[in-house]
């Protein structure tokens, strides 16, 4: 094959940041499909438009998702990428790997596909980028034998994801790695066999820093927190002071509730426990001196999503504090999400995320029907109008005036 030129893409091999063009060229040495991808991408750079079509039902036996069909728009010109499908492989919790596992992923992908991957897709999966339809089932068979499973696609529970958690972070308020693994295994049917109005995502973050972006990027956001009071090690505070760390200006002055006071003479920090909102700022700045309380768990928030269709939503609080204990097998969480999904499945319209269903039908209705206790932590402030949907069965329906005459 004569080497085809890619002058525009070559410009993106210059500079210090690692180049995806170099990566496609490396794959192109062994894969005719990757070589053609380079050609069609060069054309996109000339014409400033994409050349991919979606659609066509592709998949594996026993599952309703995990593979996304992709086709080039000029199959005659680019026969090797006429079919160039994506396979999603469910990643291990926290994106931890040993090199043996990674090499297995590479070897199988060299055998069946383009040799190109995304490590990782935004939802979390290992993305195998580009294979023919006839290879999909053998790919799944081989990866399955090696101990891997497919991720989600379509109107299902999408692949769950978590932060590094107690594996490497002192902030983790619950075991995000185990929660992600355990709960993914619990909901295999929901993940592999699309049956809902639309997709649903769960992300597990171990603390309020929310490194997985759970609050903005998942329908069910599980964000680590604690119920009692932050713990302060006054000896460690004194060490920060000795090292000239600006405790007053960087920590106390930036505390959003002003609940933290520093005594310059005694070099001690004090907290007004009931004023603290657990935002995590002080812990981020003084991790050696301040830590979370002892009664740890998670806040459960619902409804997060990106812009399409009805604007971006942040998840909002439904359960301010829930224990997330490995010993209990995360039972309370599993029961709660089952009720939440069941409500959405009954009430949601096609292509409506749960946040949109709640917005359309009302948070009060959702909380009542999903049997979630109603507490002030669920709102910033109460309603500013009198339009309450009163439960009519609780009211006097006699239809009479106070003197007993008919109304």
């Amino acid at each position: 094959m004569t080497e085809k030129k890619t002058p525009l893409l070559d410009e993106l091999e210059k500079g210090k940041w690692p180049s995806f063009v170099t990566e496609i060229k490396r794959a192109a040495v062994k894969s005719a499909a990757s070589a053609e991808l380079l050609q069609v991408l060069e054309r996109s750079y000339e014409e400033r438009r994409g050349h991919w079509k979606h659609g066509g039902i592709v998949g594996v036996r026993g599952y309703g998702g995990g593979v996304i069909g992709r086709y080039v728009d000029e199959p005659e010109t680019y026969p090797n990428i006429a079919e160039f499908h994506t396979v999603r492989i469910n990643q291990p919790s926290g994106f931890f790997y040993n090199t043996k596992t990674l090499r297995t992923i590479c070897d199988l992908w060299e055998k069946h596909g383009s040799g190109l991957t995304n490590m990782h897709g935004s939802t979390g999966d290992i993305i195998l980028l580009g294979c023919k339809t006839e290879h999909i089932q053998p790919i799944f068979d081989d990866y399955s034998e090696a101990g891997f499973d497919l991720g989600g696609s379509g109107s299902c529970l999408r692949t769950t994801n978590c932060c590094v958690g107690p594996g490497r972070c002192e902030y983790a308020c619950y075991d995000t790695l185990e929660a992600c693994y355990n709960i993914t295994n619990e909901f295999m049917d929901e993940l592999h066999r699309p049956m809902w109005p639309y997709k649903s995502k769960i992300k597990f973050s171990g603390c309020a820093n929310d490194c997985t972006g759970a609050i903005a990027r998942s329908d069910i956001s599980v964000i680590g927190t604690w119920r009692d009071t932050i713990r302060i090690d006054q000896d460690a505070v004194k060490e920060y002071a000795a090292n000239k760390f600006p405790i007053q200006s960087q920590v106390c002055d930036k505390c959003p509730t002003g609940c933290l006071t520093y005594n310059n003479e005694t070099q001690e920090l004090a907290v007004i426990a009931e004023d603290c909102t657990r935002c995590h700022h002080c812990i981020n700045l003084m991790p050696k001196a301040i830590q979370a309380g002892k009664e740890k768990g998670a806040t459960i928030l619902v409804g997060g999503k990106s812009t399409i269709v009805q604007s971006a939503f942040m998840s909002s609080v439904v359960i301010p504090f829930m224990k997330m204990d490995v010993e209990d097998d995360f039972e309370e969480f599993k029961d709660t999400v089952r009720r939440i999904w069941e409500w959405w499945d009954e009430n949601g319209k096609t292509r409506e995320r749960i946040g949109e269903t709640i917005f359309r039908l009302g948070m009060g209705k959702f909380l009542r029907e999903a049997e979630i206790p109603i507490v002030p932590q669920q709102v910033f402030r109460p309603r500013a109008n009198p339009y309450v949907f009163w439960a009519q069965e609780d009211l006097d329906k006699s239809g009479t005036a106070l003197d007993g005459t008919a109304l």
Partner: protein, 353 residues
């Protein structure tokens, strides 16, 4: 052999190095001894070093094998990826940290992305693999990160800076909650291929897919019509039917949104807000985009307090002040007219000039 169904992901416990198994849940604090290196110290006194390296996200299996060879040599075969597509080499032996970094640098890897830095741009597929892209993803990321490389390998920003890129108005790729969101935008209505619609489009689904109700059935033609005044160019209809081609090379381009965050520290999580409605798609290096982002970044660096995220700074000084300082033109295109527009209108008589 038939595949095992529902066996779930590989068990993470098999992927953890011995130092993590020994100190699981016992980490006490961490430090950043230098850019690109995290040091986590356990209650037991054990220290784990993570060396962070950039990737372009789209990587070949050869790249992964190269990385494996390094992990075998320096990390007993253990490593991880971050949610922002960086790699972290996990070392239990401090003596190996500097030799690893020297080897990485010699091989051309980019070490950094920790603390008050930019740590890779979360992004989508773009022209590489998406069906509705208004711009490329990987190429824009490459151009922007080449330009801002100094802020990846150092920690001199006021606070951390998270960027995202979405190649169309769906705003995948976390652009809605990033400090800086780079968003591909279409600006013209879809072009209807009536033959294609007649051949294989479920018209009710197509009509229902439009968020603004701009698509109506046209029974006479056995097709649909688009009310162009109502169309917001989201491309949702093209996802439903390939007969609704939306790309338009002369008019597609990029919008810039700023000020989003997901962390709860100090202030509530917030969405990014549009500050530049359109920049041209000047492939392969997108100079207008890289210049615009650098200008915003430099303004933030010059004016923000220490520790203040981009959005926190703008909220403190006020958006009207941000536009005055940046010189960016403010226009009706930046005033929301979608579903939740009203909550962005100023309902008070106190503001700045």
């Amino acid at each position: 052999m038939a595949a095992k169904l529902d066996q779930g992901p590989p068990n993470y416990k098999e992927m953890l190095p011995p130092i993590i198994l020994d100190n699981y849940g016992k980490w006490k604090y961490h430090e950043i001894p230098r850019s690109g290196v995290l040091k986590h110290v356990s209650e037991s006194g054990a220290a784990l070093f993570s060396v962070r390296v950039a990737t372009p996200r789209l990587v070949s299996i050869d790249f992964i094998r190269d990385v494996c060879a390094l992990a075998d040599e320096f990390c007993d075969g253990f490593l991880r990826w971050t949610t922002r597509n960086n790699i972290e080499f996990l070392l239990s032996d401090e003596a190996k940290v500097n030799p690893l970094i020297e080897t990485l640098v010699a091989k051309g890897f980019a070490v950094g992305g920790t603390g008050a830095a930019i740590s890779n741009i979360i992004h989508t597929q773009g022209w590489v693999h998406c069906h509705t892209p208004a711009t490329d993803a990987s190429g824009v990321v490459k151009a922007v990160m080449d330009d801002l490389y100094e802020y990846f390998e150092s920690m001199k920003l006021p606070a951390k800076l998270k960027m995202g890129l979405a190649c169309c108005l769906n705003m995948c790729g976390s652009t809605h909650c990033s400090d800086i969101g780079i968003v591909g935008v279409h600006r013209t209505p879809p072009r209807i291929d009536h033959d294609k619609i007649r051949k294989g489009t479920e018209i009710p689904s197509l009509v229902a897919s439009c968020p603004t109700g701009a698509i109506r059935p046209d029974p006479k033609n056995k097709s649909v019509v688009v009310n162009e005044e109502k169309c917001m160019y989201c491309g949702n209809c093209y996802t439903m039917s390939p007969a609704m081609e939306i790309y338009d090379a002369r008019n597609d381009g990029i919008a810039i949104l700023i000020g989003g965050k997901v962390s709860n520290a100090r202030s509530a999580p917030s969405f990014s807000r549009m500050v530049i409605p359109f920049l041209p798609n000047n492939a392969p290096r997108w100079p207008e985009v890289t210049e615009a982002i650098r200008a915003i970044l430099e303004l933030w660096i010059a004016n923000a307090d220490k520790g203040e995220r981009l959005g926190e700074w703008v909220e403190r000084i006020g958006w009207e002040r941000f536009f005055a300082l940046s010189g960016l033109p403010f226009s009706d295109m930046l005033i929301d007219d979608y579903i939740f527009a009203r909550e962005t209108f100023r309902t008070g008589a106190a503001f700045k000039y």
